[in-house]
Structures are given as C-alpha cells and as structure tokens.
Symmetry: C2
C-alpha cells in the first residue's frame, strides 16, 4: 500500500472512530462506563498505575513523570507518577501499568516558557531546572486524555494518544519564548550507563527523529521515535551532557553552534526546540514510537495522526475506550461503578501493541520480524496475568485479540534464542523476571475456551519446549526428580508448585488434541506438587536433591534464598489449583484444609515481617492480597464444600483491599491482574484454575451486571437483595434453574443468559448441597 493510500485509510479510520464516538454519545451504557473511570486510582499507595493517555492495549502510554529516582528508590515510581509528588519532570511515551520493576519512560517532552534549562534540576528547588510544580486541582484525567497546568512554566498541557502516537497540546503564556525540551536521558530512574546509545536528528522538513538503546530491565532495547510540531521551529539546540566517557570523534557539522546541528549522537542527549514568543495557538506536538526504525516511526505518525487535530485524536481515543468498556453494564452505587470500570480500564493496559503500522516488530532475538496475519503484542507480565487477566480478556475482548496474543507468544518463541515462550517480556525482549512458564496456561486456557486462529499443534510444541528447557530455573532437575531441588536452585518450592500447575494445562490441551503420549507425561508431572508437600508441617516446602526437606524451616520466612518466590509457607502452601481435592486429601480431608485456610486469614501478623519485601502487601493475617500467590486462596473454601466461607472472605478482601481512591489498590496492579481479580470477584465468579473452563462462584458485589459478549450474546449477573448486610448467597439460579454447584462453565457463560444470586444476611451453609458436583480437581476425575 502506498503512503498516500495508507494516510487516507488512517484518516478514514479516525473519521469512523469519530462517528462511533458520536454514536456512542447516545449509547448511555458505554458512555457511562467511560465516564465512571478514574485513572488516578492506584497512582498513590501501592498500585503503581499512571494517569496518562493511552488506548486499550496501546503501544504508546503517554503520561507525566513526577520524579526521577536513583535505582534503589525506583520501586515506588515504577509508573513514573506518584500522586504525592508536587512536581512534574515531563511527559514520556511509554509506561508500565502497575509493575514492581521500573523501566521505559521513553522520550520525555517538557514544555518550558522563558529561560529554558536543559537539566531537569532539583525538584525541591523550583527553577533549578525544567521540572515544574503543579497542583492536583489543575489535573484532569479520563481514558485517553490527561491535562495539567505546569505552574512554573505557566503552560496548560494536554495529552492524548492513538495506538502508536502520543499527541501533546501545550498552551504557552503569551509574550515569553516557548520551548519544548526533549530529553533522552531520563528513563524512570537514574542508572549509570543505562543509555547505551541514542540519537536526535532534525530533518529538513522539521521532523525530529531519533532512537535510544538502553539496558534497563531488559538490555539492548532499541526504541525509535518521530516527532512533529504544529508550528515551524524557530531554532533548536542539541546537547550531549555526558561527563563520564563522552564520545570523541571528528566533529560533525554544527559542532560549534548547536542551532546548526542536524543530528547528535551520544549517551546523554537532550534537545531544546524553540517556537518564539508569538504562537497564535496552542502548540501541538505528535510523537510516534517504533520498535523498528526512525522510518517506521514516521510511517506510524503518518498512518495514525496525519494532521494536528488534537481534539479529533482525543475523540477517537474516547470512542475506542467507550467501546471497550461498554462490554459491561453495571448497576451499582457510584463508588463501586468507579472502582469496577477503573479496574476494567486497568485490565486493558496489557499486553501492549508492539508492532509498526506495516506489521514489523522486534523479537526476543532483538531482530526485526514481520507479523503476517496477526497483530503483535508484547508486555507480558505472565506470572501475574495468567491467573485472572488473560481469562478476563478471553471473555470481554474479541476472539481475534486473544488469538493475536497467543500468536504473539508463539512468534516470540520461534524467535527466542532459548526456544521458549516469554516469561516476563516487554518491548519484545525477555527479562527472565519471576518464575514459571506461565505463557503455557495462557495458551491452554485460550484453547480450551475455544479461542482459535492460531496453530494449536505449534502451540502445544511451544508449551512442551518451554516446560522441557533444562537450563531454565531447575527444569532439568525437575524433570529428573519431580521437584526442583533447593540445594541447586533457589525458591524451589514455588517453582515446583507452579511448574506442576503449568504442566497440568499442557495435560489438558494434549488431551484435547488427542496427544495421549504428552497427556500421560504431563498428567504425571501435574502431580509433582505432592513432592513439595510436607505432611509433618502441613506446608509446601523445598526438598534437597537427596529427597529431604531443607532445614531449618521457618514458615514465616520470606525473601530471596528461601523456598518461596515473593512469599512464605503460609502464602504458597495452597497453590494446587489443578487439584484442590488432592490438596485436601493430603491434609487429611477438607476440614483439615479449611482449618489451615482459616489459620492463614486469622493469624496475627506484624506487617514488619515483610518490610524487606516490596511486593508483599495487602495483608489479612498471612493472606497478602497485594501479591498474586494469594489471589485464588479465598475461593478454595468453595472447593472444600463451604462456599459461604469464600463469600465471607471475599467481603473481607473487597472491603479492605480496594477503594475507588488514589491509594485504592493494596498492591501493584501488575498489568491488570489486581484489577482483573476485582472485576471477576465483583461479578461473582473467578477462574481459580485457568485451563479448567470453570469459574468458581463467590458472590456478586454489584446489584446487576451484564456482559455484552463479543459473540453478540449477553450474560447477566443479578444479586437480588444485595446490601452490605446481605453478604451471603442463599441460592443461585442459572437461566432460572437452580444451580446446585459452586461453579459455572465457560460454555454456560458464553451462551449468554442470567446468573441470579439470592443474597441474604445469614450464610447458607447447605448450598450447593450434599452431592453437588464439585469443581474440577485432577485427582477426582
């Protein structure tokens, strides 16, 4: 397709989006869903979310960065923004939503008026740099839109975004020179040598392009950009501020006069672009990113935002968000609607589009590849998101998106130098963060739920390859011994447990594909959790190669070097979602297991015990809702025949761990996993064991919710008599028929219909009743 045609089509797409936005203005549900979102939720406290502008699953996340910290202090600023800060450094184009590690923050722009400093300065010394004070009173945020007044510069700054383009609108004060700083040095935190190389080029037509290559969370990451302004440049300056080992080559033209420089390369680059003091209208800056090249960024810019119509881009963003959020209609009090739709909003932050408009992207081999027939995504926080985020997307996003996600995982495996599926990947690159091979349950769950559009045989091969890659985290020993030996590999108990679950999903998919050999192998491996169970203590523990459990053993202990990953024995000992019945049997029966679960929730725990662990937050006893290993635990009561206990624990969690406020998330949102838990739980069901096609029933927290399923059907949840006092389920009907089991199936959900809960003040300890069908448990099949 020629450029002109592509530009035309992009224009047509935007026009269509605007039409849709107008249409949806009459669509009360979608509009009300959009209006309910508060992007500031989680920007304080532990949430690590950002308030800036992005599309659902967009490649650009354009958001203010409030402070740049030293690496050791970077945890709290992983999203760039902390609501408690009173300064803004600038607006950068890529952010993680809710992570515990910090990276991205690519291409920081900052409007400045008057004297323009090229250093960000000390945030505590106003005027010492281009950093500006701001007041929350001037801030506005909605999905796809953010605005703030920069007090020091006197600039009203607005942000919006298309998929690959961040669009800024800056209203400068009259009569003072207007500038835009472009800083390639800042990158969420300061780290010596983080920028491996970077480039800024001012082209003859005023387009500014460049790249930065960084070694942050993932090393060798290249990101390209193209930037255009709505007004011609009156001047510019390009500077390399490196003091450490500056590059000494022959001077390029313009060395003596930065305003004459057409390009600069180095490791500490900053630029100033000048627009004089007579701007007759707000300045619009549009910046496209590309994983491939500067030309790729220019093509993305041309394809998505051909002009400088900020409002048009904003309207298109609003339309896309309204359409996406309109998948749910919720009848609930305003605070809960805000929490619900903001959770849904945060659930659509990842995986992120990672592909140029021509289908090219960069893979885990750091090479450029071409997506043929699918849309490529990256940013896979899989240890978190396989639990509830991907199962949620399977329900509320189009099948094509879910197939694209699987195709992206499969492409990454084809391109992997290790021949394995992503573990924790972003911008195409592998970070090896966290444990497990949890792309496996994502794919298995999608396949079991009928998602097609990818090569199932290749997928199974890829899953088996990931589960069999010996050098990774003790898999060789796991395959030999049936468990990961702690004397050879750290956090061995957690790894054994999670591998066994992932293996069970391979077993499921192999069964579905008629691959009996693989089903036998991985069915056996799925029982490996038993090797971690210590009957003497009732905890999951790590064994040594000689078969003995490691001693001394402290079930309270957590941290690197222990048996567990971001947790302790109290938190990790219930991770057998594929076989809760087996777990209960191991404990000596369901009652024994129930007592243990109560011991978890009801323990008196001094939170200081986790002072050394950033991620373990949101404590209820030992239960830590702020981190993922706990997320399924409250639902285990239902397996053990006491759904009323699940209902009670869920109320306890919902009441204490989520608020529709700045600090409303008890833990890192982790690319939507915390939010997906909320969405499911508010609706009254949860995917404890992805791959099982079952959702365990909890209780609804909304009066009514209807899901407008992508297949055109509608599935409603109704909570009759719901009130704060009526917190227990007295009975459940599905499509009017009493439901005598504590779960529903994916097939039932996707068929549309109505799930109706009768809420009451007292627990109904008899529901679903003796002889009710139990949820899937492997050993009970």
């Amino acid at each position: 397709m020629g450029n002109r045609m592509r530009t035309f089509l992009a224009g047509a797409t935007i026009a269509l989006a605007v039409q849709m936005a107008q249409a949806q203005a009459q669509d009360t549900a979608a509009q009300r869903a959009y209006a309910a979102v508060d992007p500031f939720i989680g920007t304080g406290g532990e949430g690590h979310t950002f308030p800036g502008a992005t599309l659902p699953f967009g490649m650009v996340q354009l958001s203010p960065d409030t402070r740049i910290q030293a690496r050791k202090d970077a945890y709290g600023w992983a999203a760039g923004y902390r609501h408690s800060d009173d300064t803004i450094v600038g607006f950068s184009h890529t952010h993680f939503s809710g992570t515990g590690h910090s990276d991205l923050g690519d291409v920081l722009l900052m409007p400045v008026s008057g004297d323009a400093k090229l250093e960000r300065g000390d945030p505590d010394v106003p005027g010492s740099g281009y950093t500006s004070r701001y007041s929350h009173a001037t801030e506005t945020a909605a999905p796809g839109y953010y605005a703030v007044t920069l007090a020091d510069a006197g600039v009203r700054a607005e942000l919006t975004a298309s998929a690959r383009v961040g669009v800024h609108r800056y209203a400068f004060p009259q009569g003072k020179p207007a500038h835009v700083i472009v800083d390639l040095r800042t990158s969420m935190y300061d780290y010596p040598g983080k920028v491996q190389w970077s480039r800024i080029r001012v082209r003859a037509d005023g387009t500014v392009t460049g790249m930065r290559e960084t070694r942050g969370w993932a090393p060798g990451r290249q990101l390209y950009f193209a930037l255009r302004f709505s007004q011609p440049l009156a001047g510019h300056a390009l500077q390399d501020t490196e003091q450490n080992v500056p590059y000494k080559g022959f001077p390029p033209p313009g060395e003596k006069d930065s305003a004459q420089r057409a390009q600069i390369e180095g490791r500490q680059l900053v630029a100033r672009f000048d627009f004089g003091d007579r701007l007759s209208a707000p300045l619009v800056a549009k910046l496209a990113i590309s994983p491939v090249s500067e030309d790729g960024a220019i093509a993305n810019l041309d394809a998505e935002v051909p002009g400088f119509d900020f409002d048009r881009v904003r309207a298109a963003a609003q339309a896309q968000w309204a359409q996406a959020l309109g998948v749910a209609e919720v009848d609930a009090p305003a605070p809960m609607r805000k929490a619900f739709f903001t959770a849904l909003y945060h659930a659509f932050m990842g995986p992120s589009l990672f592909m140029d408009s021509d289908g090219r992207y960069r893979g885990p081999d750091n090479a450029v590849h071409q997506a043929k027939g699918w849309t490529h995504y990256s940013t896979f926080s899989l240890w978190d998101t396989y639990r509830a985020l991907h199962p949620l997307l399977t329900i509320v996003q189009p099948e094509q998106r879910n197939a694209d996600i699987v195709n992206s995982l499969l492409a990454s495996r084809r391109e992997s130098p290790y021949g394995v599926l992503p573990v924790w990947a972003f911008h195409g690159l592998e970070t090896w963060c966290m444990i497990g091979y949890h792309a496996v349950p994502v794919i298995a769950d999608a396949y079991m739920k009928g998602i097609r559009g990818f090569d199932a045989d290749e997928a199974l091969d890829a899953m088996v390859a990931s589960a069999s890659y010996g050098p990774y985290d003790g898999i060789a020993q796991y395959m030999q011994l049936g468990y990961v030996p702690i004397d050879e590999e750290g956090e061995a108990a957690s790894k054994t447990l999670e591998y066994a679950f992932d293996d069970w999903t391979i077993f499921r998919m192999a069964q579905a594909l008629g691959r009996k050999d693989l089903a036998a192998t991985f069915g056996k491996r799925a029982a490996n959790w038993k090797h971690a169970f210590d009957p003497a203590t009732g905890f999951m523990r790590a064994r040594k190669r000689d078969g003995s459990f490691r001693t001394p053993f402290d079930p309270d202990a957590s941290g690197y070097g222990t048996d567990y990953t971001e947790g302790n024995a109290w938190q990790y000992s219930w991770y057998v979602p594929q076989d809760v019945a087996g777990l209960a049997a191991a404990h000596g029966g369901a009652d024994k297991l129930l007592a243990r679960l109560d011991a978890v929730f009801d323990a008196k725990v001094d939170p200081k015990v986790f002072a050394h662990m950033e991620d373990i937050t949101g404590l209820i006893g030992w239960y830590a809702h702020g981190n993922e290993p706990s997320h399924h635990v409250a639902y285990l009561y239902a397996y053990a025949g006491q759904p009323w206990r699940t209902q009670a624990r869920l109320k306890q969690i919902m009441d204490t761990q989520y608020k529709p406020t700045i600090d409303g998330l008890a833990g890192n949102d982790d690319l939507g996993q915390m939010s997906a838990w909320y969405v499911f739980t508010a609706l009254g069901f949860y995917p404890v064991a992805p791959g099982s096609n079952q959702y365990i029933l909890g209780r609804p927290f909304v009066r009514k919710a209807t899901l407008n399923l992508p297949n055109g059907k509608r599935f409603s949840v109704v909570a009759d008599g719901l009130s704060d006092a009526n917190a227990y389920v007295g009975g459940v009907t599905l499509d009017g028929k009493p439901l005598h089991r504590a779960f529903i199936t994916h097939q039932e959900l996707m068929a549309g219909g109505e799930l109706r809960f009768a809420m009451q003040a007292q627990p109904d300890k008899d529901w679903p009743g003796a002889g009710a069908q139990a949820p899937y448990s492997m050993s009970a099949q």
Copy 2:
C-alpha cells in the same frame, strides 16, 4: 528469490569461478599477475596494509591482528598487523588497508589447543593468554589466502574469503583438546566504553550468531555475524568480563553453567567453542558478516559458502583476483612486477562491498536500506582516493563497478542526516575525517569520462548540496567571502584550496549537463584559490574574516590549528590542479613557479619538524610523498613546459618512496591512493586534475604494459630503450604518430592503442615543443 534458489545460484557462481580459475591457469598473464603480488608489502614501515584474505572490493577482510594497543599507540596498528611483531592475537574479519586511523577488527577468532584461556594475555609473556607466537618463516600470503603456524597452540591456520564470508581452516595438533576463541572485545585498540553492546548466541543447529555495536572512528556502528563450524560443538562457554559497569538484569538460563548458555549480551564478551581431542580433519570455520542483522549474516553465509570446502572458496578467490589483476600485462623486472601488481592489488581494497546478499545495507542515518539495481559500497577515504584511486578504477574496473560506486555515494547522500555526500565514510557511517567534499570530483570525473548508469541530474544536485552545506567546515563563510576565514575555521587555507578544486569539477559537470547557471556559479567559485594566494610570500595562506592574512606566518609550520591540513605552506601552496597556468601567472610566470617547485624538492629539511605529525612521511625536501597533498606536485613541471623535470622528479620519487618489500611504502596506503599513484606513474601518466579527462605524461617505469580495458580494447605503453640510465623521454608517439603534447586524453586511452616513449639518458628539453597544446588550465580556456 527463495533461499534454495539463491543457494543454488551461489553454488553455480562458485562452480563458474572455479572453471574460470582453471581457464586462467592457462591464461599466463592473469596467472602471472596473481603470482606477482606480495601482500606483505607495506605491512611494515608506514604502509599500514594487512596480509590477510579478501576479495577485490570485498566486504570481509580476514587478517591476523598482531597486537592490540592502547588508543594513543594505535596509529601503527591501524591494519591490525605489524610485520615486526612476533605474536598473533587472532584473526578478525574487517580491516582498513592503509589508513591512519584505527577501527574495525570485528569478530576475532583464535584457535587454541589444550588449556584455553579467555584473555589474550600479555604478548610479551607467552602462555599468559590465547595470544600465540609465530614465525614469519611459516607465513604464506597471496591474494585471497593467508596461512601461518601458531607456535604456542601448534595450529596451522589458513584463511580465505568470499565477498561476505571469512573461511578459516585450523589443523590442530592431535591428542589435545581443540578450541576456538571468539572475542568481541578486541577491536584494533583498547578504548574504554568502545563496545556499546554486543551479543553471542549459540543456536540449536550449532550456528553461532551475534552482533557488536561500537563507538570507534564512527559511533553507533552495528555489525552482525553468523559462524558455523565443520564439526559439531562438544561444548562452549560464553563470558562477560566487564568489570566497569556490568549489566545487572535477571539471570538468563545457564547463568550458573556457561556451557548451558544459549546467549550472552554485554559489553565485554568472549566465547570458547570446544571440539574435543579427536578431530579427524582440520576444522573449518566460516563466518559471514552483515550490516543488517543476524539473519542477514546467515543468509550471506548460505548464499556464498554453502559447504565447508575451504579449497573451493580459495580457488574462487584466486580466480577473482586473477581476473581483476589480469587487466594489466607488464613487462618489467621481477621486483618491479611485484611492486606493480601489489600496488594494483592494494588499489582494489576499497571502496568495499557493504550490502547483504539480498541488497540491504545500513546508511549514514544508521538505518537499513535496500539497494535496488545497484551494488552498494562503503569505505570511502575520499580525501585520499579522489586523486588517483578512483581515476584508476575508472580505467581498469568495469563501468558497472564505477557506476555502483557513484550510486552508493548518491544513496548515502539521500540517507544522510545532513543531506550531503560522504566525506570519510565506512560501514555506511560518516566519520567527518579530513576536509573537502571530494565525493564531488569522484562523481564529476566518472561522469566526464562517460560512466553512466546513475542519475546525472540527481548527482549534480547532490554535488551542489554538498558544496553548499553551510554548517560544514566553514562553507557558509566560504560562500560569503570566497574563502574560509581562519579566525572562524581551522586549516582554512587547505579548505579554501580544496573547495575551489571541487567546485571546478561541479563547473565541469554543470557545463556538460547544460546547466549554465550552476556552471557560472561554480566556475566563479573555482577561482577562489586566488583568495588564498599571498603574492608577498608566494605561499597559499589563510585569511581572516577582515581579509588580512593571519600572522605570524611560518611556512614550515604544520599541525592542528595551523592554516593547513596535514601539511605546511611548502606542501599545500601548489594545490590548484584546475588552473596550474593561473597559479604560474600568480607567481609571475612559469619560471617563477618552477623555481618554487625546485625549492620544495631541494630544501634541506630536518624530518623532526614533522615528528608531531603522524601522516607526513616520505620526505624529499619539503615534498612529502607519504601524504596526499604532494601527490600531484612532481607533475606540475610538465604544465610549466618542462616535462623533463617531471621525469627527473618521478625517478627520484620512485627510487626512494617505493620498494617491493615489507616496508616498501613511504606512507599510509590510504585505501589504495599511494598504490594508485604508483600504478599510474609506472605506466607513464597521471590524472593531475580529475574532471579534466587528461592524464599528464610522466615517463614509464616498465618496459611495456598493456591494459586490457573493460570495453574490450587494449591500450599499451612501451618504453623503448628503458634502463636506469635512460630515464628521460626523447619523444612520444600515440598509435605511431608523434605526440606533441605532454598529456593524453581519456578518450584516447579508452580507444585502445599504443603510447610509445623513446627513453634516453639526456633530458629532451624541447619536447613537446614550442606551441604544444598545454594541459587543461581553467584560466587558459
């Protein structure tokens, strides 16, 4: 074209080359030309050549590196090899031939037996690293082939090359473990932070790929490679030895056991590949490079060297060289034939192919581009090579190659962030080394000589753009004042003079294209040399903006900050090749100019005056044959009506500045310029003013030479009566008719025929005679 087809064709090409090699075994001339070459000429002394294996204009130059120096000592090791060293560090795949600056040295391989150290060690302490001693007695080199015995490892190592692939054959001693070290750290010299990023990946099929990104002579240079061994790997180790700021990410699989690592990334990488102690045949390693990607390198490997037949690749290299060198047949004593064909060999070292087998390459914007319809070259040492190297290629290489060179220059200009033609470019990137815009005379000379196959209008546009780019080296001031002012730009006299010459070639081409406007503008600019001429001292000098010459003035002074580039007033004051008659007139007549030239050659000069200038070597008085500003000077006598004085000076130069020995080059070969001077001068003529289509006659130094011109014609030079005593020309005939002028034209040369010199002991001061047509001089037209 599919891979299979491409591989097939590559195989067919090699088969054809082998056939040609066999055919040429009967072609005495080509075979004797090939046999006459001694690649060791220039590897000692000032030549900076390398003895390794490459094809004519090949992308790979595979050669031993003898020592790695600190950057401050790197000058003498710019080609990696110094004959005076007695150790070899390894064999790397890219080298400059004859430069004064140092870079490349990409992907160093070293065979080791027994205990394999990963550090190169101290060359003065045998066994302290993988560096090995060697003896010149074991060395063999021929075009496309090099062999040596590594004494410490006991390995016989042979090297050969195709265009993009280096092929190694290592015969290991029996009974000891055989290893190959791959070192990405070494790069001709040590410089902190030079390697920006690098990667080594061991693929499942045993292919090793990787990349390195360096900031050396040009920053941000990326080079990719793919390596295969003829024997399966028995093991491997991948190490990052960085001590300064090592990358701290999450450990990839195999962190604990290097043998399990599939990939390593970092800034100081080295690998060891193991082959056990039972190799039944010599190990063949083939390594392809690519400017684009690892996949590009694999494709290059597959396309050019599908198997592991070292001898087949060697035979094909020999065939290509014999064909290229067979352009000349020379009747001369063996030492002169050796010097002549080695000079021709060195003249075919650059520009170098810089394009993958699929036509992709990297441009000065560091982006990947696709050559459509031409072969892309880089490594343009233009300040040197516009003088004689490119004019030589215009005669002895196919028109397509010369058109490809022009197309490569034009592509680089299209891709240039500055919109200008290359200045000193390699691997696609601009270094801004030296002065002038000498791609301009290369293109003009090619066009004036009838080279077609490029867009002449675009070429003229590009030439004008380069000559009008204000920020570069004082061009803005030059366009304003008619000279470069020394108070605003260093080395201003040299710049004014060279710009004026380059401008004259634009004038010539604009005239030829009927662009009268441009011809007028640049014809005027061509006379700007007059602004540098100081009648009071008779020297070219630098003026200040106020029009006065800078004082104090010392015609002996050279160095950075002076009026001149790598020279002094004695050396630079004759640089008006476009208007020697005008220069003579400025001096007050030809006799005055002649006296000044004698003063140059006959001065008593203490060489210590240039001790601070690495490049000014090969002194005869002030005449410095080791550097390019002097190269045309001896021929100026002929312009002034005294060709016999040119003949005498040429003998003086040929007798003292060239020897067919290790230290046989008086200065850096500079990508073939020193050698091209030799080839022309040995044949009896020289292109003093590229763009004039005239070759000034000197005198032949060979009894007879025949050029097998690419158009199928044959042009012979005969020196009747030639002897050491008969050093003067008594008369000249062209095709049997007496020639009454001291030049021939390109048209005459390309028409074929015979140029016959009658050599005699006494100068013929009357030839070419009163009223003889003078060579081109602009002011005389």
